[in-house]
Symmetry: C2
Subunit: 107 residues, 2 copies
Amino acid sequence: MNSPLHLYKAEFFKTLGHSVRLAILDALREGPLSVTELQAVIQTEQSILSQHLAKLRAMKFVSSRREKTTIYYHVHDREVYQFLDLAKNIYVRQLQQSQEMLNELIP
Amino acid sequence: MNSPLHLYKAEFFKTLGHSVRLAILDALREGPLSVTELQAVIQTEQSILSQHLAKLRAMKFVSSRREKTTIYYHVHDREVYQFLDLAKNIYVRQLQQSQEMLNELIP
DNA sequence: TATGTATATTTGAATATTCTAATATAAGAA
DNA sequence: TTCTTATATTAGAATATTCAAATATACATA
C-alpha cells in the first residue's frame, strides 16, 4: 500500500496539483521559454516561479538549458500534453455533473 | 492565473496526489467494492479510508450506492483508468530518466 | 576586479493536509 | 427499544506545503 512506487505516483500527481505549476506547463506548450518570459506570462514573483520550476524539474516534467545568463525551460515528453488534455475531458465531465446537481437543487 | 478554473484543475490533481486515494481507484478498477472490502484490500483504518473516500466523492472520482447497511463505491467514468494508465507511461519514463542519471553517476 | 542581470536557494512564518481518536448516524436484528 | 454492524463526521495534534523576503550563484561586461 505505502510502497515506494505508490508514494512516487502520489508525488507525480502532487507535483501537478498547483495552479502555478499547471500554468507553467501550459505556457510551455508551444515551445521553450526563459524564466523571464514565463514571469511575464504567468504573473508571479521571481522567487515563487523559481521554486515551482524546481519542483517540476525534480519530477522531470521540465528540463532546462542555459544560454549565456538566460535559462530556457521546456517539456521534453510531449505525451504530458496528451495526458493533460485527457485530464481536461475528465474534469470537465466532473464539473458538468456538479452543474447538473446544482440545477436540480435550484431549478 | 489564479482563476477559479486553474484552481479547480489543481484540486483535481491534488485529489489524486495521495497513495491511499490512488490505491482506492486501483482497487475499484474491476468493479464496485464496499468500504469493508476496500479496507481489506488497502490495509488501512476505517476512518482514514472514509476520509479519503469523501475527497474522491467530493471531486466526483467515485460515487456510492447503499444496499442495506453496506455502501458500495465505484468509478463511473471509465476514462479515469485510461488517464491513470497514460500517467503511468509518463512517470515510468521519468523514473527511467532518473535511473539513467544514477547510472552515469555510479557506473 | 566591480557591477549588473538572470535565476536559484534558504529560512521562517503562514497555510493546508493528514492522521488519530472519539463521536455520530443509519439501518437491520433481537 | 436496544444492540450491533457499517460507515461518516468532527476536532485537534502532527506534518507537509507554500509564500515572502533575503541572500546566493553564475555569467557577462565595463
